[in-house]
Amino acid sequence: MKAFVKRPFVSHLLTSIGAMAIFELMTGPPGSSTTPTAGFTGSFGERASFFGLFATYRFVVFLALAVIVSGVWTLWQSRGSVIKHGVNTGLARPRAAWQLKPVRTGFFLALFIFALFLPHLETDPYWQSVMVEEIAVYVLLALGLNVVVGFAGLLDLGFVAFYAVGAYVTAWVTGALPTPAPFGIHLNAFFAIPIAIALVMIFGVLIGLPTLRLRGDYLAIVTLGFGEIVTIFANNQYGITGGSEGTNAIPHFSIHLWFIHYVWGLAPVPYYYLTLAFVVVFIIVFSLLEHSRVGRAWTAIREDEVAAESIGINPLKYKVMAFAIGAASAGFAGVVTAGQTIFVNPQSFTLPVSINILALVIFGGMGSIAGVVVGAVLIQTVSMYLLHSPPAGYQSSDLYIYLGAALVLMMIFRPAGLIPSRRRRREIGMAEAGEGHMDEVLTGDTP
């Protein structure tokens, strides 16, 4: 029996069936507390029409899919190298072209121009507001987390705290919180940008100084706790933050110069251009940083902290810097969100948001700016599409089922992400070959 199960074809088939069963549950109808089995029976037994092509029981379709997947898998194991070789030779020329700087610059410039015209190509109000609130803002957040996770190799599960602080600082300086605004001056939201960024960076230093002395896994759980505390605090301090209702009196961005008076409303397009401008600024700053002395120090710490320390790099200093710098873009994201939606409340800054941002970074590729931007745009677009026109059985919180699965699958099959950073890919490869000192699990005690 055991030998039978261990045969490649059989084991592939069994694994595929298991995976497809899980996939079937994910996409199936929901159950409820009174009918806990409805989800299970519905997922397998329901008759469904597939894209209007044919209608049959769900389990038939998924069994067929499992057979196809296991067939492809078995084929991939015997013939995969041939296909890989073919793909590699086919892609050799584009890849070589990609190495040339003008080609890359041109490509990014084209993307930028496309982004400039996007609000005029897509005029649906839902998608216009999604472009700002869910895509551009999340690109900023992902860029920020990428500095922490990708560049410095620190797993921060409470990144949403920085976003929250940015938004609350905006509400504070514009006079929308129960806490009196500084010096009693109600500032324009534009002036909140530098103040919020500066305060969020200070907040990053304050959180980083005690926590960044900890080992990687402890850091993850402690940052998770900090993220929760920010929410608990915002929820319960009515006198300071407005409690669970927060505030909905944040003034829109406005421009008052002599005779020009221009107040931005709820319409998303001006915010889109503002955010786009900052996305470009952050991309440039972060990629310059990556290749600067600081970026090299981050890489050194990430690859081998002890060695980095022995050549005179102060790990704590550079880790705190990563926290503060990464926080800056999240702080700006907070300003945009607060200024456009004119409200802040604790419910917008919960742990799932942190996990969402993490998923964008991991999917796109840790440490790869292009990857993170592409990953954020792709995932956010798909998730907002699902929210806008949900397929049968999809509930809005199901998104996290998919994001969770994506995190696991990426780690199993493509740990360096969709568009890997060259250095990251090399590091992971080295770690897996047993070279270098990126910490591993279960190899006895590594020095």
């Binding site: 549950l25 994910m26 929901p30 159950g31 409820s32 507390s33 009174t34 806990p36 989800g39 299970f40 797993l155 599960l157 005690p210 926590t211 002395r213 900890l214 990687g216 896994d217 402890y218 993850a220 759980i221 402690v222 706790g225 929760e228 505390i229 608990i232 319960n236 799932p352 996990i355 993490l358 998923a359 991991i362 509930q395 919180s397 199901d398 996290y400 089922i401 994001l403 969770g404 699965a405 994506a406 995190l407 696991v408 990426m410 780690m411 199993i412 740990p415 590091e427 992971i428 770690a431 897996e432 070959a433 990126m438 910490d439 591993e440 699990v441 279960l442 190899t443 006895g444 005690d445």
Partner: protein, 320 residues
């Protein structure tokens, strides 16, 4: 005495008044934290890694026992021997479901990475992904409301101690906890399985050269941690009900307990759990209810900063 002194003395008066009640409640919570902490500490001992998805192992035990209890008890009120049998059944069901979940998790989220010698960051991310996947899937399948487990016993006050009522619920937790902890302690100290766990924790490569099957030992470690987590899930559910997000806070606290006692140290996990439960309970006299969770977190942060090896010290690979 200034305002702060006044604040303290007023709250100490509350603490004095409620001392025994808070102590009993805190110890009961502490036993549950300890059960969950066992899972963290065992896996940490063997793999040197925090199992971020342990909260969902805990949750699956809670849900499994909820459905079984609901099917058997329904609306009746069991008593006497039936109660004893039902509590044991609940623990067994919760433990089995969680052990199965732990095994599945190890297979799907950890083993592929282990085979590749992936860096530690990959495990953390994979575990977080698995955790999010699992609890949101549970929310989808079983609804997002808190469900109370039908009580297998009549929760009357069994006796009072210095004016504090000790209910049946606390007695159940105490007895189940003591029996399970003593059994585990003996298993790890005396049996071949315990020896292989300790061997892998000490030095995996050498252990495998000595003929210890590492994969099997790791799987068994997950299973034992799962049994304790599931039992904890059932007992927690008896008091607070089950809901798809039930794992998050208790697991964070259990992790604190594991670190407090010294991670990798089984007896430390128990002591850490009890201390944390009591400390948290006493803090009710001092802070708003909403900030109770912050207290546990503050303890975690302080321990990690000032004594990361915990009270009994990190003990990897030694007996108990």
């Amino acid at each position: 005495m200034g305002a702060f002194g006044h604040y303290l003395s007023a709250h100490f008066a509350t603490l004095r008044l409620e001392f025994w009640g808070l102590l009993v409640g805190g110890l009961a919570n502490g036993f549950i934290y300890a059960m969950v902490a066992i899972g963290y500490t065992l896996v940490y001992g063997v793999l040197r890694l925090i199992n971020f998805a342990h909260s969902e192992i805990f949750m699956s035990g809670g849900f499994a026992s909820y459905f079984v209890m609901k099917a058997i008890i329904g609306t009746s009120v069991p008593s006497g021997l039936a109660s004893v049998g039902l509590v044991i059944l609940g623990i067994l069901v919760g433990g089995t479901a969680s052990a199965g979940m732990a095994l599945l998790l190890e297979r799907v989220a950890y083993r592929p990475l282990r085979k590749r010698h992936a860096p530690k960051l990959a495990y953390l991310i994979s575990a977080i992904g698995a955790s999010y996947f699992l609890f949101n899937l549970a929310g989808k399948e079983f609804g997002r409301y808190n469900l109370s487990i039908p009580s297998p016993y009549i929760n009357h006050t069994v006796f009072t101690i210095f004016g504090a009522n000790v209910q049946m619920y606390y007695i159940v937790i105490l007895i189940a906890g003591v029996i399970m902890f003593v059994t585990l302690d003996r298993i790890v100290a005396k049996t071949k399985l315990g020896r292989s766990i300790r061997a892998v924790a000490q030095d995996a490569e050498t252990a495998s050269l000595m003929g210890v099957n590492i994969d099997r030992t790791i799987a068994l470690t997950f299973i034992i941690g799962g049994i304790f987590g599931g039992a904890g899930g059932f007992l927690f559910g008896l008091g607070s009900g089950v809901v798809y997000t039930m794992g998050f806070t208790p697991a964070l606290k259990a992790f604190t307990a594991a670190v407090l006692g010294g991670i990798g140290n089984l007896r430390g996990a128990v002591i850490g759990g009890l201390i944390l439960g009591v400390a948290e309970s006493f803090s009710i006299a001092f802070v708003q209810a909403a900030f109770i969770d912050v207290v546990a977190f503050a303890i975690l942060l302080l321990i990690l900063l000032f004594r990361p090896t915990g009270i009994l010290g990190e003990r990897l690979g030694r007996s108990a």
